[in-house]
């Protein structure tokens, strides 16, 4: 490996090239799709190569001994300085490689998906902005730089969700995503402010060391870690601010696939991993995370049971898997373990969830609808590549051997098992059961279409009002289809082999191997939960005799509760309308019009009125005025003379 300087410049290039592409496209070439595409591709390929080069060549780093390259970015005073730099250790290097790869794949896949869209150039510009911010997020050295990238990720996500901005639902979803994540981010920001004031630095390493050595006062540690978790909850869609993620599926499918499932939403979990020693030092925070993550897991899996939009199903499964990762991390912190299980699930999830979404994209592109029941009228079987790969992804998501999800879920379950209370692992298993069930609900419906006269169609005739953003043209063959299938095959391959890389990966990340004593009871339980889920799905949806009714139908009130998404959207809508607009905004506006401005006007108008009252004195007759003047002067003179 070259000198430290070279590393710095390479990292800078990784981060700034996509930004440059964004700027160039937005300023100069936004009317020229082909040129914009070329710029964007060049500016994402070079970072990809550099990222892998760094990943392969930097070998002598570990979590305890990272490679830090930085320069000063902003120095306001001795206590407030912001460095611009990169923290390279196994965690960030691996993530860097993954993000660069996914950001690159997204661009290749979009070639086919976005072909002919009027906003093609803008789309690639936004993707480049996303690439830049995500790459800089994973490599940031200071928490403030991370926060900046974090916000920029939010910005690019806003732009991409609202990409088809003529659609009200899209622009609304973009706004919702930005504002809701900003809600968490303000917590994050407050945490950073407290940290910089009472701890003095935002250097990630220093913060982690303080967590490890307990040099930071406990109140500060707990407060700041809780506040930072607010940011995590926003970005990683944890209860109760998960509501933006399902709506974010309004964006183009490649975006949903790669931003809102694999990379961006993982940023929150990545941040916990990044600051794991810091979080681990506060049991209170960990408990809060564990509880919230568990609620998230159950909430989203239950909503997934009843969703009909294929992207919504994957979106809720993303939310639930993110909750599962956070559970793993929190449990590891509480039980004194390592962050490996959660991080590993993050990595495998990135692969198979991207795969699932991209397959969904192919289906949506082909059938022109998001509703997988409507898709199943034609049946998915003749789209061979996507159908096989989506099944692989689903198996991985359900946690079936030998796909990657099996290993990582097993690892997380193992961590949960170590908690003193077994209730958490029980809930985790229940979540796994639900996940397997709703995943295979989709697969079976797509694989085994019913004949048109099947009684179940009565219920599903009504099509969900979700549409596919751009105009339909002839699909199926051609370069576009192949460009879309290529990433599917790559990702499916990764999903198949990633599980077996668990050992080496752990060695790479932690610098040590933990010999796994296989817990056969847990293994049995987990696989059992998954298989039960699949079996039940087969009974309800797959088998020839299946009635196409979920088992949840037996509990109508519960089903309605899930259909209404636990009323969380209602709650936030009420909060916004009644509290923000209806109360504060209204009262303040009234106050501004009537009290503050009214007061000013009252002063002005009372002056005017007073003037009018006294105006009878103004006769405008010259000589009266003069007389008055003379009398006053004479009076003054006499007064003065008497004084003398």
């Amino acid at each position: 490996m070259g000198s430290v300087d070279t590393v710095f410049w390479m990292c800078t290039a990784i981060v700034t090239l996509p930004l440059l592409a964004f700027a160039l496209i937005m300023i100069f070439t936004w009317r020229k799709p082909q040129l914009s595409l070329a710029i964007s591709l060049v500016c994402s390929t070079i970072p990809l190569i550099l990222a892998w080069y760094l990943f392969v060549t930097i070998r002598d780093v570990s979590l305890a001994k990272p490679l830090i390259v930085q320069v000063e970015w902003l120095v306001s005073s001795d206590i407030f300085r912001v460095p611009f730099g990169f923290l390279l250790d196994p965690v960030s290097l691996l993530m860097l490689a993954i993000v660069a790869t996914i950001a690159w794949l997204i661009q290749i896949y979009s070639l086919g998906y976005m072909e002919g869209d009027p906003g093609f150039a803008r789309y690639y510009a936004d993707l480049s902005l996303f690439g830049m911010s995500m790459l800089s997020l994973v490599t940031a050295n200071g928490l403030l730089q991370l926060f900046i990238s974090w916000e920029l990720v939010g910005l690019s996500s806003y732009l991409l969700i609202g990409f088809w901005y003529e659609k009200f639902s899209a622009s609304e979803a973009g706004k919702k995503a930005f504002v809701v994540t900003r809600f968490g981010d303000t917590g994050f920001f407050m945490g950073l402010a407290l940290l910089v004031i009472y701890f003095g630095t935002l250097d990630i390493n220093a913060v982690n060391l303080a967590g490890l050595s307990k040099t930071m006062p406990q109140w500060l540690l707990t407060t700041t870690s809780l506040l930072i978790f607010c940011g995590v909850a926003g970005k990683s869609a944890q209860f109760p601010i998960h509501v933006w993620l399902p709506d974010a599926m309004e964006g183009p499918t490649p975006v949903s696939a790669l931003l809102h499932s694999a990379t961006m939403v993982a940023a929150g979990v990545y941040l916990i991993t990044r600051l794991f020693p810091f979080f681990a030092a506060s049991p209170t925070t960990l408990t809060v995370i564990l509880v919230i993550a568990t609620i998230t897991l159950l909430l989203s899996s239950t909503i997934g049971l009843v969703a009909r939009d294929i992207k919504q199903v994957w979106a809720y499964s993303t939310v639930s898997q993110l909750g599962f990762m956070a559970m793993g991390l929190a449990a590891a912190g509480l039980a004194g373990g390592t962050m490996f299980a959660g991080y590993y699930h993050l990595v495998t999830h990135a692969g198979f969830k991207a795969l699932l979404f991209l397959c969904a994209g192919v289906f949506i592109h082909h059938f022109g609808t998001n509703d997988f029941f409507v898709m199943s009228k034609e049946g998915g079987r003749h789209l061979r590549v996507p159908m096989i790969t989506v099944t692989i992804g689903a198996l991985a998501l359900a946690g079936i051997f030998p796909f990657s999800g099996f290993f990582s879920k097993e690892a997380v379950m193992g961590v949960l098992w170590h908690l003193p209370s077994k209730i958490w692992v029980g809930l985790g298993l229940f979540g796994a059961f639900l996940t397997a069930y709703y995943t295979f609900r989709v697969i079976f419906v797509l694989l085994f279409p019913r004949p048109d006269d099947h009684p179940a169609w009565e219920e599903y005739k009504r099509e969900e009002p979700a549409g596919h953003g751009h105009g339909e043209e002839e699909h199926g063959g051609g370069l576009g289809y192949q460009a879309m299938c290529f990433p599917l095959i790559v990702l499916a391959g990764i999903t198949c082999i990633l599980g077996f890389l668990m050992g080496p990966l752990e060695g790479y990340l932690l610098g040590e191997h933990h010999p796994h004593d296989l817990n056969y009871l847990l293994l049995f339980l987990a696989v059992g939960a998954a298989l039960t889920g699949i079996g039940l799905a087969w009974k309800d949806w797959g088998a020839r005799t299946a009635k196409w009714q979920g088992f949840i139908r037996s509990f109508p009130s519960l089903e309605n509760f899930f259909l209404q998404k636990w009323y969380m959207d209602h709650f936030w809508r009420w909060f916004l309308n009644a509290v923000i607009y209806g109360t504060f905004s209204k009262i303040f506006t009234y106050n501004d019009r009537r009290v503050v401005d009214g007061g000013v006007d009252a002063v002005a108008f009372s002056c005017q009125g007073g003037g009018r009252l006294l105006s009878f004195l103004q006769t405008a007759f010259l000589q009266y005025n003069l007389l008055f003047m003379v009398l006053v002067l004479a009076g003054l003179g006499i007064y003065l003379l008497m004084g003398l």
């Binding site: 103004q618 006769t619 405008a620």
Partner: protein, 105 residues
């Protein structure tokens, strides 16, 4: 004559002149007459200056300079006032001060 060598004589003269002017300004309704009365008051001031200069001031020129100055001012003032009166006449067809009361509150 002793009486002409006394300051008070001139001051009384100026006082009378000033009082006449003031009376004229306040009582006459004809704007030209008002202007003439103002000139009388200015002259009273001039006489005062000259008198004080003659009897009290150490330097003989100061009062004279101011008297000359007043003449110049009076000339300018007369010119301006006359043109204003002209304007008033054009507008109201009268130079009676009682009629120029458009600014009444």
């Amino acid at each position: 004559m002793l009486i002409f060598n006394q300051l008070e004589t001139y001051l009384y003269l100026a006082l009378v002149l000033f009082a006449i002017g003031l009376y004229g300004v306040l009582s006459r309704r004809n704007l030209i007459a008002v202007l003439i009365s103002v000139e009388l008051m200015l002259n009273a001031a001039s006489i005062n200056f000259m008198a004080f200069n003659r009897f009290l001031a150490p330097h003989p020129a100061v009062g004279q300079v101011i008297a000359l100055f007043i003449m110049a001012v009076a000339a300018a003032e007369a010119a301006i006032a006359l043109s204003i009166i002209m304007a008033v006449y054009r507008k109201l067809k009268s130079i009676n001060a009682e009629q120029a009361v458009e600014l009444r509150g």
